[in-house]
């Protein structure tokens, strides 16, 4: 089974800008494994800080398999994950 690691920054600014909702969206992919024909497991790692120390205007920050996503949201992160898995 394919494995994918997604790191989500959970600094205050990223949490305020929806980091927890992004994590929820990533977890929700597990419920769509049949519809998406997924044979993979996604490992979510919350990080105190990703990227630069003060990344306010770029938050939330997410890294999908070493690829940094700035101003991430559920839509862009789910799409990136599926791109990596398919």
């Amino acid at each position: 089974m394919q494995k994918l690691t997604v790191q989500v920054c959970v600094c205050p600014e990223c949490v305020m800008n929806g980091a927890m909702d992004i994590m929820e969206a990533i977890e929700s992919l597990n419920k769509l494994k049949v519809q998406l024909s997924l044979h993979a497991s996604v490992n979510i790692i919350p990080r105190a800080h990703l990227g630069e120390e003060d990344h306010g205007s770029k938050s939330p920050l997410v890294i999908v398999n070493n690829e940094l996503i700035e101003n991430a949201n559920a839509e862009t992160v789910m799409s990136k994950i599926l791109t990596h898995l398919q």
């Binding site: 959970v10 205050p12 305020m16 800008n17 992004i22």
Partner: protein, 499 residues
């Protein structure tokens, strides 16, 4: 939109962070005029058809976040007009707490049924047959509903085999459990403040971000900066709200970095309230009262007393956890200022009552606190942060934040006091469900019961001022509750057992 991060959420939170920055930086109130340009940059509108409208709406939100009254669109005043009045180190509040920003309202149509393109114009057309007032007919080969005749019973919707008929509701009105949303002369939503119980559900369910409540963060920051001893009382729903690293053990240090002198869990007050309500149940039910209903949720209690005056006395008169906690703090530190930090809009109203005002100085929500953390650049739960666990509260008190937790805590104490006593329980969350429960209770069908009502979906974890999705918050609160060594309220050092 509950549990989904949207641009509406983003704007609301940006406003709190910017108001907190304004306070921390000690900027002149004239800086307010610049903030809409920071939140809505550029010349191309993102959310509406004009950046000027977007900025004007942000301007009104900034005023409300300062606690200022909303202006009329006909008022030529700048955003900062009167803002100096709010530049004080104590609560600044004048009713109403919650309001619709009229020019942000999209004038959504009121409740009606209509036929979508799913209609096949079928031979059976049961929608026509089931309508009791002949409002449905076949026009040009498809179903048509005459809105003047329609009585909104929904039978046509139920009967359609293609799910072609939908019930259309204004999201604000659909989320309001007390029918407080009306319309102004231009068809925009208007809150009937005589009916409103300030639960804040319209605020979080309006997809156009047209509803906002007043905040006290600016004045709270000024109070902290004045050197006052400010104590934070944090409501049980806080667990998990500030991210997975901001564990309960790390919250005290995080809040101290903001300038709070110390932090106490409101779960401590919940334990006190539990024991009080358990004793009240044993004393009054069934001889004096047919049933007892919990009192901790202010919107539920207000709805019950307003809509069901015949059974108002069945709502417990125990002090709420917020009040018990604040009272305990002021007993120990009479000169301290107490801030209740919770998930709830209605607590702001509760704290403004004459009987509560002296104990609770400020009320802010988790979202507003997050704005303070962001403005100050404080990371909660960093590796270098001290771990200082809270030790006074019990699992029962910590469970208050989730539907069923309050009644369970009270029942456990009742059965500790009187092991033979059976305590039937019913719980309801969301004011629609609460009203159904009270309708049955009023009809005498819940005699002998302990009733728990929560205005928000899932309990306090679904409050209007929360940050994370409800299911995540529920799981966090339950895990924290279950990990607590002291299980029952009577094990709390604050609790004096009443018999």
């Amino acid at each position: 939109m509950r549990g989904i991060y949207t641009p509406v959420t983003k704007i609301r939170r940006q406003v709190f962070a910017e108001i907190a920055r304004l306070a921390y930086n000690g900027d002149d109130m004239s800086k307010l005029e610049e903030i809409p340009y920071k939140i809505i940059p550029g010349e191309v509108p993102t959310y509406r058809d004009s950046v000027f409208v977007e900025r004007a709406i942000v301007g009104e939100r900034l005023r409300l976040a300062l606690g200022l009254p909303m202006r009329s669109a006909t008022d030529p005043a700048p955003i900062s007009k009167g803002a100096a009045d709010a530049d004080i180190p104590e609560k600044y509040y004048e009713p109403p707490l919650l309001d619709v920003i009229p020019f942000a309202c999209a004038k959504c149509d009121t409740t009606h049924y209509y036929v979508t393109d799913n209609c096949r114009g079928c031979l059976a057309h049961p929608c026509v047959s089931v309508c009791p007032v002949q409002a449905v007919s076949m026009v040009d080969g498809r179903s048509y509903i005459d809105r003047d005749k329609c009585v909104k019973c929904g039978r046509c919707k139920e009967a359609c085999p293609y799910s072609a008929i939908v019930r259309y509701e204004r999201p604000c009105a659909a989320s309001c459990g007390v029918d407080a949303i009306e319309s102004d002369e231009l068809g925009r939503a208007k809150i009937n403040h005589d009916k409103c119980v300030s639960c804040g559900m319209c605020l979080v369910n309006c997809p156009f971000a047209a509803i906002a409540d007043k905040s006290q963060i600016y004045q709270l920051i000024k109070c902290i900066q004045s050197g006052a001893k400010v104590m934070a009382a944090i409501a049980p729903a806080y667990v998990g709200q500030f991210g997975p690293l901001a564990t309960p053990d790390k919250m005290r240090e995080g809040l101290k970095k903001l300038g709070f002198a110390d932090v106490i869990e409101v779960a401590v007050g919940a334990d006190i309230s539990t024991i009080h309500e358990a004793a009240e149940f044993l004393e009054k039910v069934p001889d004096e009262l047919p049933f007892l209903a919990t009192s901790c949720c202010p919107s539920w209690a207000m709805m019950a007393k307003t809509n069901f005056p015949e059974i108002a006395e069945c709502i417990s008169d125990s002090p709420t956890p917020m009040v018990s906690t604040a009272h305990a703090i002021k007993e120990k530190y009479p000169d301290a200022k107490v801030v209740f930090i919770g998930p709830c809009a209605a607590k702001k109203l509760e704290a403004s009552r004459r009987s509560v005002r002296s104990d609770v100085d400020f009320v802010i929500t988790f979202e507003e606190l997050m704005g303070m953390f962001v403005a100050k650049g404080i990371m909660v739960g960093g590796e270098e942060d001290e771990s200082e666990p809270f030790t006074d509260a019990t699992g029962a008190g910590r469970g208050y934040a989730v539907t069923g937790g309050v009644a369970e805590a009270i029942r456990d104490v009742i059965q500790e006091m009187d092991p033979d006593r059976e305590v039937p329980i019913e719980t309801a969350d969301g004011l629609f469900e609460c009203r159904k429960m009270l309708t049955l209770a009023k009809a005498g069908k819940r005699n002998g019961y302990l009733l728990e009502g929560m205005a928000c979906p899932g309990g306090c974890v679904g409050g209007a001022g929360t940050i994370i999705p409800i299911n995540k918050a529920t799981a966090s609160v339950k895990a924290y509750k279950n990990s607590t060594e002291k299980k029952h309220a009577t094990e709390s050092p604050y609790a004096k057992k009443k018999k």
